[in-house]
Amino acid sequence: MFLLYCLSILWLAYSRQATPRGSFLLPASSIDTFLACSVMIVLVLSAMVGTSKLMTPYIRGLSNRDDPERLQQLASHILLNTGTPSNWGETQEVTPSSLGLAKADSFLPYELDIDKVSRLNSENAYALTYRELWESLGIQDVAFQIEIGTLFELSIEATSNQTQGADTVYEFEVTTKKSGMPIPANLSSYVVVENFVNNVTSSTSSNGVGSFSINVPNSVNGTTLLLVFARAQANPRMVSFNVYAFGHNSATPSPNRTFLSLSPLNYVLNVSITYSSTEILKAQVFTFNYNFSLTEKAQGNQTVEYNIPRLLDSSPMILVLTGLNGSSSFAEWVSYPQLPLQIGSDFSQSIAGAKIVSQTTIVTINFALYEVVTKWGGPT
């Protein structure tokens, strides 16, 4: 551009000398004006560039208020910091003054606290509300959603059942997939009804499908739970689980949480009994490799507490309580960490054009790997 300007001056100067009649195309005053203009243009350009350079940080600050990088940093902040107090997950009454889900005193990055995670689940009696979380995050101009679940899905389907002597043999088909992609896995399955427990191991093949059969004696009846843990063959820390409820010699079972409200926290299972006629028969914990009976810690009016053992198995724990309500037996369960969960804003209702940033992170909870998806949105 400046070159163009210089060329035009040269052209004018050449025209002044080249005229055949000896008269000038441009008077001397015009040349002076051009020189003055050139100085002015250089000044104006310098001023504009200078102003642009000076203003850039401020403009960037304003335009980046909701940019993806900032929102991704917020997601990392929640997963890498313990929050305040650092052990806020363990204590029922404590609401964090700053939000963070990382485990205190952990040497691993992205290791989350089992209790902080469980308190995000609305089914836990000591769960935090979204408003409490949002206030403890301390950033007014963003909304967020947190989803935590296993790395891959496990689905269970009952294929057949038949009576063989004193037992009924149930056959199940299990599928282990991630977004449709098969995941070969080893399976550990437990069937629980009243005081009876049976365990079988099997696996899913390269197409992610496996099957097994399991015997249940006909001397027991009522709601029966089939707990299935799947461990990816590629990496033993990738674990998924699912629970399938069915009636054994009885009617279709009632939905989970009908008779009991189960809230694990700080390695204590807090049980709230819904009906006074309910009697608990047995409380047990199951992981991929182990199962134990839980010891009672305390009993109150319609409440019971059980100690949960600190197991080193890289697997979620499933806590199962069996009992009687009148003459019919029931079985109810909860996982620890209490997953899957979703808390926060519902971005599916967001208006078109709203900025939403989603970040997927792999985290460790009690030696097993899980997937955390955080979604962030700011004002448009």
Partner: protein, 140 residues
């Protein structure tokens, strides 16, 4: 008929327009980074975080030492989101490629990739060091 003064005014007008447009262009050039760059940064972060998580307790180093390329590929299939393509190359201390088979889910040819590098070691008495270079791209 155009007189000399008229020609000068026209040239001045063109120059003024050029000055204004050049100022706009300069301002545009100095503006913040593009969204594509942020997306690539996020992909790089995803890749390095996946490798870190897989290497907890030395699992990744152990799999490399065992030359279990299938297990490494399957692990990455699980930890990376379904919309991410990857290609992993593993080198020893002398930067000689170790993986005898390709560790990738889909071909990255023609895609805008981001590359991350991670170092790991075996947790045994005879320690071996490995360099892992992973290229990642979003599946369009």
């Amino acid at each position: 008929m155009l007189d000399n003064r008229g020609q000068t005014r026209i040239i001045e007008a063109f120059l003024a327009i050029a000055v204004v447009f050049s100022a706009l262009i300069i301002s545009a050039v100095t503006f913040p980074s593009s969204p594509t760059l942020t997306k690539q940064k996020s992909l790089a972060s995803l890749g390095i975080q996946a490798l870190i998580e897989l290497d907890i307790n030395g699992t990744l180093g152990k799999l490399v030492a065992q030359e279990n390329w299938t297990a490494i590929k399957q692990s990455l299939d699980v930890v990376l989101p379904i919309g991410v393509s990857f290609n992993l190359t593993i080198y020893d201390e002398n930067l000689i490629q170790l993986n005898s088979q390709v560790i990738q889910n889909t071909n990255l040819l023609g895609r805008e990739t981001v590359s991350v590098q991670y170092f790991c070691a075996t947790q045994s008495q005879n320690i071996q060091f490995f360099t892992l270079r992973m290229q990642l791209a979003w599946t369009r």
